[in-house]
Symmetry: C2
Subunit: 241 residues, 2 copies
């Protein structure tokens, strides 16, 4: 028997209940765009990112602790907020030494689910911080659940491709008996040299680019290691480690 820890991929929040999180590092994956934005903000010096599940809560917490309330619903800046879920908004000039309170359609909801299921450790992952995530998972040497946020519980390929990128890089360090992980790694290996060319095939690409013109966001979100920081969830906050 192998003594390697296990690795599983959950393709949708609606499947997360199938996995034991209590002994696992859970990687929250919302490539377009929440976890890419979290990496961007922390890489650019944000003190922390506080994920919350509603706009009123984002406004209240931002007011109480002194911070930026931000978020999106259905791909655009949420009503009542001035800042959205674009990684491009959170450059160093704007976000350094500030707290970011963020609410999003899929990613922050998945993080709350992982908390409710008593995940041992929660981190957030995206292409911009791929290497930092891989290094952490190898160092921790615990079981891993790669949690894809999807879109309103639907499977999406960008989150799956990112799960595949992790498996491609460090899968050999884990015991993997999981068809989702096998599929994710296969899809990534096939497309790794043409992620930007592949992107227009994704349903979410059409939502973001054709409706909102967010081509720069997409480029950033598919580029490895441009904001290579590890967002670790500690006492209600994602902080850089």
């Amino acid at each position: 028997m192998s003594n390697k820890p296990s690795l599983h991929t959950s393709l949708s929040p609606a499947l997360l209940h199938l996995y034991d999180l209590s002994n696992s590092v859970v990687v929250i994956i919302d490539v377009f765009r929440a976890t890419s934005t979290i990496a961007s903000a922390l890489y650019n010096g944000a003190r922390c990112v506080i994920p919350v599940d509603s706009v009123p809560k984002a406004l209240e917490i931002a007011k109480n602790i002194g911070g930026i309330a931000a978020g999106e619903r259905d791909g655009k800046i949420a009503d009542g907020l001035e800042h959205g879920n674009s990684p491009m908004e959170y450059n160093r000039e704007f976000i350094e030494n500030k707290n970011l309170v963020l609410t999003t359609t899929n990613g922050t909801r998945l993080l709350q689910m992982a908390l409710d299921k008593n995940a041992d450790t929660i981190i957030s992952g995206s292409f911009p911080n791929l290497s930092a995530v891989c290094d952490f998972l190898v160092k921790e040497n615990k079981n891993v659940v790669l949690g894809c946020a999807g879109w309103k519980d639907r499977f999406n390929l960008e989150d799956t491709l990112y799960a595949g990128a992790i498996i491609h890089a460090i899968g050999k360090k884990f015991t993997i008996h999981c068809d989702s992980s096998l599929m994710a790694e296969t899809m990534y290996a096939k497309n790794k040299n043409k992620l930007h060319e592949f992107a227009p095939k994704l349903t979410h690409y059409h939502r973001l680019v054709e409706r909102f013109g967010l081509i720069e966001d997409i480029r950033f979100c598919l580029t490895p290691d441009v904001a290579n920081v590890l967002p670790l969830y500690v006492e209600g906050k994602l902080v850089a480690r």
Copy 2:
């Protein structure tokens, strides 16, 4: 705007609620082995296959109408039954002109879910009846939901590969904005000439072959058009059309 009907792939019963079934032909897919067994039995002259959700119900109905009660739980013949869920059991000598009452872990449960969600039309699909399913879907020219049964709500690749085989064959007849379908077709196209070589990578292969020695079943279940019949659900029964 395209006037083609839509096609979606549901990767797990836990995701079926995301799709509108009321205007759709739903293809129940449980490659290892329920829907392959259904194709085998009907191809070999079974009068009908009655899918039920429990062993007592299977026994009761088989007694009342005169038929064979059969089924599996966790990959082996269910306690209390004499016949299982192997397509190899249902040769013409055994099953011709008989009623088969079948209960299985995943496939028959998914069929019940599709019924509960008021699916317009329900058929059952597997590699052994791939062409019959494709021909029917093209002829009907309605929206399609490819429903993968998975394993206890987990994603599995054999059902996804079969969904991909359908899309590979007739996808151009449909409007497809669905990352699951894009993934399924990509995985199938990559592996279509080596399905039997790919099979040992699947978690379900290990369950069936290493634990139960069912290598012949696997071969049958991955071979297109060897039992090319269309199982259509009509008033509680799957019948050959």
